[in-house]
Assembly symmetry: C2
DNA sequence: ATTGCATTGTGAGAAATTTCACAATAAACT
DNA sequence: AGTTTATTGTGAAATTTCTCACAATGCAAT
């Protein structure tokens, strides 16, 4: 498969959500223009992105919903479940547990970790919280490949190291610090403060950039 | 001032946090290489970004911490407070209220809004929650220019319209839907599901992209 | 069957963004 | 005062990303 840029991967995720809706509604085909409208981008962009899947549409009917949805699911490896863990069961961590617990059956949350003894050995939002000393062992035992980091900034590198030692291959980091990881571990950063600063900046300025980009 | 790209604005926010730390630690000067290390990027990138501020450093000492921090604060308009409001006091909304309440004195949260009568007219995390019918009026009355949207996807456009009518100029949207807004309103999207999909994809693949980008 | 038509797939061009690389320069040292 | 040295500021090249534009295509209508 062609090398797919991280931006394209992000948009394919958005298309997947749209295709799930279309499929649920019984719509059998969809045009790139409709997809573009639903995703808030241009039709050429959509077609270019779908090329990465080797998805094919026909000029008259557009893209077949069921088929492309399957290609998208394959692309994101829905069949091969990946196990997930969370570090930091604070305000944000709890919200994430509540949100991700129900949805996303292909990436079940197997464990949460926290340094606070008040929280350990308890079930929080349907997920057991373990002490941080168990991280390496449990990550390996549960075959956890994805980690979410929601601890304070100064604890982030520490839990990252333990996750990586245990065998984690991808990280979603909410802490506002860059993480040092081996080059084969993927890190996605989500810095809410930075995003708010961007909004603050453009809200206080006359010239807003033409097309708002959907990314992180 | 030169037109500054949204990516550069995001990185300037990161630099600002680093400069605040450096300043608090009493470090009077900093080199682009140090900044680059602290922010997880290249030194040339840092220097290029700082050009947008018209910040000047000297070859021998680097950038003067206090002065550049002030320029960054000016850039983000810290002096002119902008008022903030939240729509959707659910799991995520509460976490955000808890987090943003203390920090960010330059963008105080003036109000929260929720459709659930159980939540309205109560103080949650130090912020009063009002019914959605009050949105237009209170946004105008409190001079709210920034909104955070943390309602379910199908309610997002509705609250957006009310915010915009009230006079909001910038939006941070956690709901996974594109928002239709006038062209002079800036929207920043934060789609956690999409980011997790990206991590899932790269965690399940051998070739991780070389440099992980800090954005959204 | 043929025609007409809107849409796909994609090469090529445009635009945005990052990186290189080096002259200019400010401090430290002799 | 002059020399050395490391770093800034920034054109220009390189790379990445997006957009345009159109030939090829598949369906519907006649
Ligand atoms: N809550 C938000 O809306 C929000 C917004 C922006 C950024 N963030 C970031 O997300 C992270 C978490 O935020 P929060 O609001 O949930 O904080 P919080 O203080 O509510 O929770 C942090 C949790 O991490 C645990 N913890 C601390 N050190 C640990 C360690 N070494 N190992 C394991 N667990 C440890 C604490 O016990 C606590 O339960 C922070 O980095 C914060 O900057 C949060
Ligand atoms: N919680 C997370 O970690 C998380 C993760 C990813 C995405 N999100 C997104 O963030 C948003 C909120 O998520 P959540 O987990 O907090 O959901 P939630 O169900 O806990 O909270 C949603 C809140 O919005 C309120 N609401 C519903 N309709 C409304 C309306 N028309 N006007 C005003 N308020 C209304 C509800 O009363 C509720 O309090 C959703 O769009 C969700 O997709 C959340």
């Amino acid at each position: 498969m062609r090398n797919v840029s991280t931006k394209t991967v992000g948009r394919l995720s958005q298309y997947r959500r749209i295709f799930m809706n279309l499929y649920a509604q019984g719509q059998t085909h969809v045009h790139s223009q409709q997809l573009a409208d639903a995703a808030g981008m241009g039709a050429a962009q959509v077609r270019r992105d779908l090329m990465a899947l080797e998805a094919v549409g026909t000029p008259a009917k557009g893209y077949p919903t069921a088929q492309v949805l399957e290609q998208l699911n394959d692309f994101f490896g829905v069949a091969e479940k990946q196990h997930l863990a969370l570090a930091g069961v604070g305000n944000l961590g709890r919200a994430l547990l509540a949100y991700l617990g129900e949805r996303r059956p292909s990436t079940p949350i197997m464990a949460a970790f926290d340094a606070d003894p008040e929280k350990t050995y308890k079930e929080i939002q349907g997920c057991t919280c373990y002490p941080v000393d168990w991280m390496e062992d449990l990550v390996e035992k549960f075959k956890i490949t994805i980690a979410i980091i929601a601890v304070p900034g100064d604890a982030a590198q520490g839990v990252t190291d333990r996750f990586v030692t245990g065998g984690v291959r991808g990280i979603l980091n909410f802490a506002p610090v860059p993480l040092r990881v081996p080059s084969d571990v993927y890190v996605e950063y989500l810095d809410i403060t930075m995003l708010l600063d961007k909004v603050t900046y453009f809200a206080g300025n006359a010239q807003v950039p033409t097309s708002s980009d959907v990314e992180s």
